[in-house]
């Protein structure tokens, strides 16, 4: 048996083992996620930030030059400053 065949059999066995480990690890990860404490639902599922700011600014002229000239446009801070508890 040549060296390539020996390597090939070793890699075959490792590949089969890795596939099994990969699937088992994924199942373990899903089981752990299911058993773990339920996180607070937020963001993607249920945004809590109804007071959100940073409303998209839509320029009148949709071209890059006009977009670049907006560098000095002010941020909409007034809506939120009162809602932020700063220390």
């Amino acid at each position: 048996m040549d060296i390539v065949s020996i390597f090939a059999i070793v890699i075959l066995l490792i590949s089969i083992g890795t596939l099994m480990i990969g699937v088992a690890a994924y199942i373990a990860f899903k089981v752990r996620s299911a058993r773990g404490p339920k996180p607070i639902v937020h963001g993607y599922d249920n945004p809590v930030d109804e007071l959100m700011f940073l409303k998209p600014y839509v320029p009148e002229q949709q071209n890059i030059l006009s977009l670049h000239s907006l560098n000095s446009s002010p941020m909409g801070l007034n809506k939120t400053e009162n809602n932020i508890q700063q220390t």
Binding site: L12, A25, Y26, S33, H42, G43, D49, L54, M75
Partner: protein
């Protein structure tokens, strides 16, 4: 709509051509023989078509690696040639540099937040403020932030406490409260290199540049898994971003180091909540708004990577589904090359890395295992693995030399290709399937070890 139809037509013709060619090549002998059987014909045809697909995938991979190496090397030489300009920039009087607001979202980061903030206070940049957004932490994160803030004689740390709303909302809160002209978004478990801000801010001299992506490295190289991730970060992320930077096609401004013009964040509406990869989604919004994103390899952010396999899978599962969500959200650009060829290419590259690569890689492994066991062609599996490993060794060696990394990482390449990538790809494949099935998911906060 016409473009979509054209593209579907193209793929249909390509698929049919592959199937017909495969069937013809595989069955030339059988068709001429007297003992023709339908089962043998189908078996040969299917194997030939699948094998043909893998050969095409292999050529795409080689093209990808060669292309990335070439452009990454070009970027490297470009940096060497412009080093003089960089030196002049760093010698500038710092009082003339604009104010930067560093925003640190923190949710239960009690174990790492202290060291992260202490490292921020020592960076080589004078005009900055730190806004720590405590996103409803339940541990002692808030207490520790206040303690560090009180110790800073220059009072550069501001603390915002808000109800838990996720990372995107924390970053948006921070951006709204920011006083700086530029905003640096990072993670609560991240440490920055001393000159990271100074090296990043110079890119904003160009008015077309809207964001700067930093270089992410693994800090806690404590076991085999974290060393494998260190290798992955330099080969899979740093090299790719370096090449993308040369082509002005950076497709992700990473969460641990992303610097933006504040006006740009306002323009695109900050981070959205409809994906789990808020950094990827924001980057695509910036690109589609016509701004340019650059990569700065010397702006280094050191992060604590998952040290346990299940934690790693949790992270990659979220990344995969998040990127897929971002890709689907912006999918109209996938079929509209006329609007912007650059953005069209970027999205297709993302589709390849997120969707096609994991599926093809796992499929290739299963295919060659089947061929080896069923038809005795075990050597094919060896050559399949060998060609992937050779590509990885070349890329890793180049990255280690360019990034001035630990040369010992090269010894992890065989394990990286044979085991690590397969396990991660399995997780990605399941994540993709679950995303298309519409199964629910949660953020999945990683448990910090506090090795920073």
């Amino acid at each position: 709509m016409v473009a979509i139809v054209r593209f579907k037509f193209f793929w249909l013709i390509l698929g049919m051509s592959i199937i017909l060619t495969g069937a013809f090549i595989a069955n030339r002998a059988i068709l001429n023989a007297n003992d023709f059987s339908l089962k043998l014909f189908l078996d040969n045809t299917i194997l030939a078509v699948l094998g043909g697909y893998l050969v095409i995938f292999l050529f795409v991979l080689i093209f990808r690696y060669v292309g990335l190496l070439f452009f990454s090397l070009s970027e490297h030489f470009n940096r060497i040639l412009t080093h003089k300009e960089y030196f002049v920039t760093t010698q500038l009087d710092q009082s003339t540099l604009p104010m930067v607001s560093i925003i640190v979202p923190a949710y239960n980061e009690g174990l790492v937040i202290e060291s992260a903030l202490v490292s921020l206070l020592t960076i080589n940049y004078k005009n900055f403020e730190i806004i720590v957004v405590d996103d409803g932490s339940k541990d002692d994160t808030h207490k520790k932030i206040l303690a560090i803030a009180a110790e800073d004689p220059n009072q550069r740390i501001r603390v915002i406490k808000k109800p838990n709303g996720g990372k995107a909302s924390a970053l948006n809160y921070g951006a709204s409260a920011a006083r700086g002209e530029f905003i640096l978004n990072m993670d609560g478990d991240t440490k920055l290199s001393k000159d990271s801000l100074l090296n990043a801010i110079k890119h904003f001299d160009d008015p077309k540049v809207g964001a700067v992506a930093g270089n992410i490295k693994v800090l806690n190289r404590e076991n085999t898994l974290t060393n494998l991730q260190a290798l992955e970060y330099i080969e899979g992320l740093a090299m790719v971003r370096s090449a993308q930077g040369f082509m002005h096609m950076v497709n992700i401004v990473p969460g641990p180091f992303g610097m933006f013009r504040k006006s740009l964040l306002s323009q695109v509406g900050g981070y959205d909540y409809d994906t789990y990869a808020e950094d990827c989604d924001l980057t695509l919004k910036i690109l589609f708004s016509g701004w340019r994103i650059v990569y700065e390899p010397t702006s280094i952010a050191y992060v604590e990577s998952p040290a346990k396999l299940l934690d790693l899978l949790q992270q990659r599962y979220r990344w995969t589904r998040g990127m897929l969500q971002a890709l689907i959200k912006h999918s109209k650009h996938l079929f509209n090359p006329k609007q912007s060829k650059t953005n069209f290419f970027i999205l297709w590259y993302m589709a390849f890395e997120t969707l096609i690569w994991p599926f093809s890689s796992i499929f290739g492994t299963i295919f060659f295992i089947y061929i080896g066991l069923q038809h005795g062609l075990v050597n094919l599996l060896f050559f399949w693995w060998l060609q992937l490993t050779i590509l990885d060794v070349i890329a890793a060696l180049y990255c280690i030399l360019v990034e001035d990394e630990d040369l010992r990482l090269i010894f992890y390449v065989p394990l990286f290709r044979m085991v690590y990538c397969t396990v991660i790809d399995i997780c990605k494949v399941f994540g993709i399937i679950e995303e298309f099935l519409g199964l629910s998911m949660t953020w999945g906060k990683l448990i910090r070890i506090g090795k920073m």
